[in-house]
Amino acid sequence: MYRYDQYDQAIVDARVAEFKDQVARRLRGEITEDQFKPLRLMNGLYLQLHAYMLRVAIPYGTLSSRQMRMLAHIARTYDRDYGHFTTRQNIQYNWIKLEEFADLLDDLSKVEMHAFQTSGNCIRNISSDQFAGAAADEVADPRPYAELLRQWSTLHPEFSFLPRKFKIAVIASDTDRAAIQLHDIGLQLRRNDAGDLGFRVYVGGGMGRTPVIGSVVRDWIPVGQFLSYCEAILRVYNRYGRRDNIYKARIKILVNELGVEEFTRQVEAEWAGLAPLGLDAPQAEYDRIIAQFAPPEFDPAAPDALDLSDPDFAVWVKQNVHPHKAPGYAITTISLKPKRGIPGDASSAQMDAVADLAERYAHDEIRVTHSQNLVLAHVRKADLYALWQGLDAVGLATPNLDLVSDIIACPGMDYCTLANARSIPIAQKIAAKFEDLDTQRDIGELKIKVSGCINGCGHHHAGHIGILGVDKKGEEAYQLLLGGSGAEDATLAKILGPGFDENGIVTAVEKLIGFYRSARSGPQERFLDTYRRLGPAPFKEAVYAR
């Protein structure tokens, strides 16, 4: 894992000191809320329905046990004993007090963490593949490049006041576990026939009000030049992105208005001037960072066999454990979607337990997924049973990864001031309808994603079934969308028909799943594949026919 050097820590310390002073001035009444609001947002501090909400950055979703314990400490000390892991691989706290904020920031900075650039019109937390460094299908660990992007984008003076927020994701395999085509910039690390590494560059993807699948603007940029290429993209966006209309300000609108060809031409022209200036990191810096992501020393004698005689353990292994590139090891996903739970929430005791288990069984490393789960990426198969027992003891062994109850849900109107409707109760009600695990496994892979407003933090446009909360004369209503995917076969979900109330949307999902089970070509055909094969008409008939 990457550890801060003196410069990283100095930047955080200086920024924390600056914001602590701004908080103190606001509390003393020396600056107004209008003056303070953009400052607090740049430091991840929102005012939500019930209290201040703090979003803490978790770069590319990777945490050490020490950092996870600090997140637990913050939940216990400054919040109400829990946190909410987000679709941007971050964590949010819902009950923060401004008057305690200075101490909180000091605590975070002790473990090389902070909250800046988790809001505001800047480059946000860089996201990546939760299986990075462990997946058998990756060409290299993508996180050193995500870390370079983090360093480049941190307090970047030219890109601190962009037309709108900007999100970048980096992966290194053909399987897309980070939804890169739905990002402002999506980077896929690849290896060419000569064995060199380079990136395919997608630009202009995104969800929210205007969902768009990103376009390839360059099929190959050598790794040694990708930073200056990203700089060129950001420069074109910063110069020509619209600032007159917040709803038209994302880069996807610029790409659409210019056309991909013209946008690409402008980026290439900008880059031609930038590339010779030495903006890219020298090889020694690449080497320094890559060395910090060196894989742990895997035991070549680690046994590959697994005792699956405990049926509950066997189910968990089948559902939540993935192959690892090293023989005798496995990747495990910890579901944060327990029965009757809140998607993405974890108590401080659970965070501490995961930290302990990661230390004992997973080389001291934890990942947060954009699906609001956690991953322990390097676990000896011989330790899986003990790990599972440890997770089960704290309610974290739910074997439902990618099943109908593994639902993404934003905080919705239970917490969020932007939301039009609640998301969490919808997720809970749907999950409760399919509580039986055998039923869930029979249904198979089904990604339901719920957003409480058009901003789409719940990724409803990428859901096999997407649900969007809307306001109907002050009351909650829900639109139903079908056919989305955030994977390598990215597609945007489309609205199926008229909306529903809270109970109606749950019944509609039941009908959809009932129809799917009757119409699929076989148990291996996923919900999404059946939808793609048959089209929306029979699904619409199943939901709306009287």
Binding site: R26, G29, E33, L49, Y52, K97, L98, M413, G474
Partner: protein, 95 residues
């Protein structure tokens, strides 16, 4: 329709309701605001100690106010999915 004055405390972010002389975290303590509402709101905005002050519509009667919008009912009662964090003066059942 009765209106209540609400906002969030600067120091803590807590949801507050105007009682006629002070602020309370419980909507049942709130008093209906008459024509003086806009003037009160202007004072609060100028004082800069209460964030997002607003007048909201409610039904019911003193001690049993129910906001007309789902959003304000959630603000008054607490998150509907965490009964343990409910504020106590308005049941999450009304959401």
């Amino acid at each position: 329709m009765p209106r209540l004055l609400t906002g969030n405390r600067l120091e803590t972010g807590d949801v507050l309701w105007w009682t006629g002389s002070d602020w309370s975290p419980l909507i049942r303590d709130a008093v209906a605001i008459g024509d003086e509402g806009e003037a009160l709101l202007a004072q609060l905005i100028a004082a800069e100690r209460i964030n997002d002050p607003a007048l909201i519509d409610v039904t019911g009667e003193p001690g049993h106010w129910i906001p007309t919008t789902t959003r304000e009912r959630v603000r008054a009662s607490g998150p509907s999915v965490r009964a343990d964090l409910a504020r106590g003066s308005l049941s999450t059942d009304v959401i």
